[in-house]
């Protein structure tokens, strides 16, 4: 390692900034925030005052160093800011001295702007005058710049300033808000905390949290990476590596500094490599912890010493008893120790148990008192570093008496108390669960399952994987569980569900069948099996399974709902509705059932009933986005476009990424003639889902409706390219808009020609023919002259006749136009019965007429 790669443990401000960047973990968001606030202080008149609070070694200086580094690297900030950085050991005893020291620190960085000569000339004058001159100078220098004060151990600076100095400083900052302050302290102190003090509320405190195991792993990985120890990086990601990090965490208690000190231990395998350096490290760290103890009041020290002597967390009552003190006194001291980061609180019911935040604190008492006994810290360390079963072998190979003594003690403790590795792992699992760290939780569960191969551990891991949709891995874990207990109903069912999620429903059904052989009376399994059949499209089989489930559990509303769903897919809408009605009798407040019932009505063309059901579902769940969207579609069907548009808006408010809603809203807008708005909606739908063909067709239609021919036809071509076979176009409307919006016969001819070309190219002339016939209904014959209608007909007959696919539609279309010109039913007799029915449907003529005409035709 070169000099520049050295990580200063106790004075990180001396470490190379880039190295500090490289090993920076956990607080990226916080550092970005500090930087943004400093930047706002530079760019506006706002001035932030921030106070980083945390015990020694928590990483305060590291953070401040990086803030300093980033600001001076920032080309937009650096010229507008000057930094005075008060390191940990700065001492000032008056406001005048604070100003003087600020000037000196500025002079170190910017001697041209802050010449020391000027300051020297001041010295010797009365203090008040020096203070005034410094104030005036700083105010003048920072008229167009910002002073960034970085102050470590602000509490000591305040102590030195005393009340008078604090008031002077505060007044100066009030009158001349030239400084942004980022300071640090080990704990909050009265002058910034008490409402009667001048600096009350002046600083925004930021409490730094200790490292969590995953942060510590990242820190160690980064340290290893800077030292180019790729093997170590890989090792840290193995279960053994993670276990060792937890062992270190157990000792370091989340303290950055101690982690950096301990980082060298992680790959030490042999006892010789481990124990001696551990003892050396313990010896080196002892003064550090002793200094931390000295910092406490006598009673606080006693409490910490008592906790050092304890094996497990203890209650304040017990501490009070042993220290012969009142319980409330101990509680209030524990509160302070908690705030200072010396102890941890573990809630248990209504009580709290306390333990050392850093087990290494025991060094202060152990090395002092127990030289003739095994060092408990080392015994514990051995137990968490090695697995219990490894210890006897290590003892057999040990040479030194001291080592033998420690190993024997470790083995003895293994026999009398639970495995600390598993306890640490379990504690970390609980933490990950409580903090919702899903990814970490899975890794931990995986580690536990491998360390303790039990049914419960595999099931819990599999469930964790299932929850994050890692179904393949979940299935493997369920199989591991089934290897331990092949009759585990839980494993079989959950494996089935995982297979179902992967669309491997045949295999899922096999798994359910195994479960049903163990317990055929479980309605849930039958219902799962039904869901798999349903997914395979075997709705009859699904319904049989639903019926089995209902035999066992007839009052299960969800099964009735599922059965209705299958019946819906079989097109047995009336039976489906019966099922939904039953489901709703049992559970009337289930919005999805109302939604499914609405679908059944919708497919039967009972739009009003569908709308009613959707309204019920929305009463129950007003944020049911699909229900809003489907209600809108149903409303569009009954011609209530304005109401439909409101529903689309609601749906999009809930889920602005619903491409279907955007696309359908486009249709609705076309219906009310708002073509530009429709185009916007289609664009939105296409932004979300670029291949959504319906949106492309709708957009083409809106463009054509506004006579933007080139763009419209281009869009149409594009739409056919996406999904020619399943085109979702309103061909009748497109034909109608070409007819109604073309300007003059020439443009009309050109547009019809282009349109036929596009449909021909896409192989969709049959669709065009169908659209042409249906477009007849859209023609307002009363508003058009006979000449115009004849022109329209002749154009199609001329341009369409070369295409065989259009032969039949053109025949019907020709007669349709004749009918519109003459308004004489007899015209229809030019067509044979089937063709005539098509035309009658297209024109929306009465069925009775159709029947009578059918008879006439036969003759």
């Amino acid at each position: 390692m070169s000099d520049s790669d050295f990580i200063w443990r106790f004075t990180p401000s001396r470490t190379e900034p880039q190295l500090l960047e490289d090993i920076f973990v956990q607080r990226h968001g916080l550092l970005d925030d500090l930087l943004e606030k400093a930047a706002e202080s530079v760019r506006t008149g706002n001035r932030h005052h921030l106070l980083l609070v945390g015990p020694r070694g928590i990483g305060k200086t590291h953070l401040i160093s990086l803030l300093h580094h980033r600001i001076i690297q920032d080309e937009s900030l650096a010229p507008r800011v000057r930094i005075a950085w008060f390191l940990e050991d700065e001492t000032v005893t008056s406001f005048a001295q604070l100003l003087k020291r600020t000037y000196e620190l500025l002079a170190e960085q910017h001697p041209d702007e802050f010449p020391l000569e000027w300051l020297r000339n001041l010295l010797g004058r009365p203090t008040e005058q020096i203070q005034r001159e410094l104030e005036t100078r700083l105010v003048a220098e920072f008229a167009d710049k910002t002073l960034l004060l970085l102050i470590e151990n602000l509490d000591l600076i305040f102590e030195g300033l005393g009340t008078t100095g604090q008031k002077q400083w505060r007044s100066f900052l009030q009158e001349h808000p030239l400084a942004c302050i980022v300071a640090s302290t080990q704990r909050l102190f009265a002058p910034v905390q008490k409402r009667t003090e001048p600096f009350f509320g002046f600083f925004a405190p930021i409490h730094l949290k200790p490292l969590r195991v995953q942060d510590a792993t990242e820190l160690l990985e980064r340290i290893a990476a800077t030292r180019q120890q790729q093997d170590l990086v890989a090792f840290l990601n193995t279960p053994d590596g993670r276990s060792r990090v937890r062992a270190l965490h157990h000792l370091a208690g989340g303290n950055h500094r101690i982690y950096i000190v301990l980082s060298g231990f992680i790959t030490r395998e042999s006892l010789d490599e481990l124990v001696q350096p551990f003892e050396k490290m313990a010896d080196e760290l002892t003064p550090y912890y002793q200094e931390r103890m000295r910092w406490l009041s006598p009673q606080q020290r006693q409490i910490v010493e008592y906790l050092c002597s304890q094996e497990s967390p203890v209650m304040p009552k017990e501490i009070a008893l042993n220290l012969m003190a009142a319980e409330n006194t101990i509680s209030s001291q524990l509160k302070k120790l908690l705030e200072y980061g010396y102890v941890l609180r573990n809630p248990r019911g209504r009580e709290s148990l306390y333990e050392l935040a850093e087990p290494l604190m025991r060094l202060t008492s152990e090395l002092k008192d127990k030289r003739h006994k095994p060092l408990r810290l080392l015994v514990d360390f051995l137990r968490v570093w090695y697995r219990c079963e490894q210890l006897p072998e290590l003892l057999g190979n040990a040479c030194s008496a001291s080592l033998k003594m420690h190993l024997s003690a470790a083995i003895e403790r293994c026999q009398s108390s639970p495995d600390p590795r598993m306890e640490l792992l379990q504690a970390e699992i609980e933490n990950a669960k409580a903090e919702g760290r899903v990814q970490d939780l899975i890794e931990l569960l995986e580690e536990r399952a491998h360390a303790d191969d039990s049914l419960q551990n595999w099931l819990e891991l599999a469930s964790g994987l299932f929850d994050v949709e890692r179904y393949e891995e979940a299935i493997e874990c369920f199989d591991n569980a089934l290897n331990i207990d092949s009759d585990s109903e839980c494993a079989l069912v959950l494996k089935g569900i995982s297979l179902h999620q992967l669309n491997r429903d045949q295999a899922a059904i096999e798994s359910y069948d195994r479960a049903l052989r163990i317990n055929a009376k479980d309605a849930f399994i039958w219902n799962c099996k039904a869901a798999s059949f349903c997914k395979l499209g075997c709705h009859e089989a699904a319904i049989e399974c639903n019926d089995m489930a209902l035999t066992i559990s007839p009052q299960d509303a969800s099964v009735w709902n599922d059965k209705g769903f299958s019946l819906n897919d079989l097109g047995r809408y009336a039976a489906a509705i019966e099922c939904f009605v039953k489901a709703l009798e049992l559970e009337p407040q289930h919005a999805p059932t109302w939604f499914n019932k609405a679908r059944a009505h919708y497919f039967q063309g009972q739009f009003d009933a569908a709308i009613d059901c959707l309204e019920r579902s929305l009463e129950i769940d007003p944020r049911y986005g699909y229900a809003w969207c489907n209600k809108a579609i149903a409303l569009d069907y009954v011609g209530r476009h304005d109401a439909a548009l409101e529903c689309y808006d609601k749906s999009l408010e809930i889920d602005p990424q619903n491409a279907i809603a955007w696309s359908n809203k486009g249709i609705s807008l076309i219906s009310v003639g708002l073509y530009d708005a429709a185009i916007e909606c289609c664009n939105k739908a296409l932004e979300i889902e670029p291949a959504r063909s319906a949106a492309k067709f709708n957009k083409a239609e809106a463009l054509i409706a506004t006579a933007r021919w080139e763009a419209g036809f281009r869009q149409l071509v594009e739409a056919f390219c996406v999904h020619p076979e399943n085109a979702d176009s309103d061909d009748a409307s497109i034909v109608h808009f070409i007819h109604s919006k073309s300007d003059g016969p020439e443009q009309l001819r050109q547009n019809v020609e282009t349109l036929i070309g596009i449909y021909a190219e896409a192989g969709q002339l049959t669709r065009l023919g169908d659209g042409l016939v249906r477009s007849l209904k859209k023609i307002n014959a009363d508003m058009l002259s006979e000449k115009a209608l004849t022109l329209w007909r002749d154009l199609w007959l001329e341009l369409g006749s070369p295409h065989i696919e259009l032969e039949l539609p053109l025949r019907i279309f020709r007669v349709g136009i004749e009918y519109l010109i003459q308004h004489d039913d007899r015209v229809l007799l030019d067509l044979i019965t089937t063709e005539r029915r098509i035309l009658q449907q297209a024109l929306g003529l009465e069925p009775a007429d159709s029947d009578s005409m059918s008879g006439q035709s036969d003759r």
């Binding site: 606030k37 005052h49 905390q193 008490k194 009350f200 600083f203 925004a204």
Partner: protein
């Protein structure tokens, strides 16, 4: 107003970023046309922001000077500080503070050995006289914004005694009377009445501010509080599905106090929480019950013993506040007396109760409804009081 800004609880707020105070500021300028003004508010309610904005954007024809007086420990220091600042500004107008300067230079502080000999009153008087003499030559009126006056008076009282403290206030009052055009704005985060009470307790008679118009800085109007919350949520780039609802919730939970609005948004950012109404409410609840009392609300309880030292007053005040905290409706004097009497026998008379309520009103604990009944001044403090007292 800016569209967005970072949460800045406790920091200095750029006058351009001060939300919702324009109406109050206009009212203060209107009042200054007639008389001097006394602004009283708790620490962190935003009074300094108000006066900083007034200083940054003075009404046409006015020239404001801002001084923070909390550091001042003696009458002498005060006079010198006023001299410094006024001579500086007179210099800006290219004029000379002739009389006062002469006086000051004759008595350069380096030459003075005995503080008692320092004629602060003459320096202060002459400085003001210079100022007023030069005023005729300028088109602008000068207004002195003096922040934390009660603290300064209390400092002087502690260092030089009650007599000196009273003398400073009386001198300022007589200067106002002698120079009807002179304008001062006093602000303070502790009630001046408490300092005056200490002075009066030493049998020094003074009524030095009853010629000034008293203004209270209240929390923001809901719409302004919401606008501030919105700017902060945007500035901190908090995740939210409904910015308007989030801003309304923040404003509501903070009782429209800008300091707490900054605090809430800052805490959401710190804890990486979305600006979601439930999260906001939960966060505020956590702050209110946090044993470390991050908002230092315990001060509203702990100062009672100091503010109300006579006899059993402190105990009675606790009972009054407990009663008001647990009653959903405002209470009149009779109802309050009954409630207090049911728990203690120390309430001598309704007059005693009225006196205490008057003081509680001045200390921002309670307010009166249009019907003359009493209730907690700030719902947030009432909410905290109930939690803190386990009511």
């Amino acid at each position: 107003m800016p569209e967005e800004m970072k949460a800045n609880p406790g920091g200095h707020i750029d006058p351009e970023y001060v939300f919702g105070r324009d109406h109050l500021i206009e009212m203060i300028w209107d009042r200054l046309e007639q008389q001097c003004v006394l602004i009283n508010a708790e620490r962190r309610i935003g009074k300094t922001c108000v006066i900083k904005r007034m200083v940054a954007h003075p009404r046409q024809g006015w020239f404001p000077i801002f001084q923070d007086l909390e550091k001042i420990r003696s009458a002498d220091e005060f006079a010198r500080s006023v001299y410094d600042v006024i001579s500086h500004y007179l210099g800006r107008w290219q004029l000379i503070a002739s009389t006062a300067r002469q006086f000051y230079e004759d008595h350069e502080f380096g030459d003075f050995k005995k503080k008692a000999a320092r004629p602060w009153k003459t320096l202060l008087t002459k400085t003001i006289e210079d100022l007023m003499a030069q005023k005729a030559k300028t088109v602008q009126r000068l207004v002195l914004f003096w922040d934390e006056v009660p603290y300064m008076i209390d400092n002087i009282r502690k260092q030089d005694g009650e007599q000196a403290a009273a003398e400073v206030l009386d001198t300022l009052r007589s200067l106002r009377q002698e120079h009807p055009e002179l304008r001062m704005v006093f602000t303070g985060s502790i009630g001046l009445h408490h300092v005056l009470a200490s002075i009066n307790a030493a049998h020094v008679a003074t009524a030095p501010v009853n010629d000034m118009f008293s203004v209270e800085v209240t929390p923001l109007a809901p719409a302004d509080a919401e606008a501030l919350a919105k700017a902060l949520i945007k500035g901190e780039k908090l995740v939210t599905t409904d910015l308007d609802r989030a801003a309304t919730t923040v404003a509501d939970e903070a009782d429209c106090f800008p300091f707490y609005i900054h605090n809430i948004v800052g805490a959401l950012k710190r804890d990486s929480l979305p600006a979601d109404p439930d999260q906001i409410r939960e966060l505020v609840q956590r702050q209110l019950v946090d044993p470390n009392d991050p908002w230092e609300l315990a001060h509203f309880r702990t100062r009672i013993g100091i503010y109300y030292p006579k006899g059993n007053d402190a105990k009675l005040v606790l009972l009054i506040l407990d009663t008001l905290a647990t009653t959903d409706q405002p209470l009149g004097v009779n109802a309050l007396q009954n409630a207090v009497n049911s728990q203690t026998e120390t309430l001598e008379s309704p007059e005693h109760l009225r006196d205490l309520l008057k003081l509680l009103h001045r200390d921002h604990y309670v307010t009166r409804t249009m019907a003359g009944e009493y209730e907690f001044r700030f719902p947030l403090i009432r909410r905290w009081w109930k939690l803190d007292r386990g009511l």
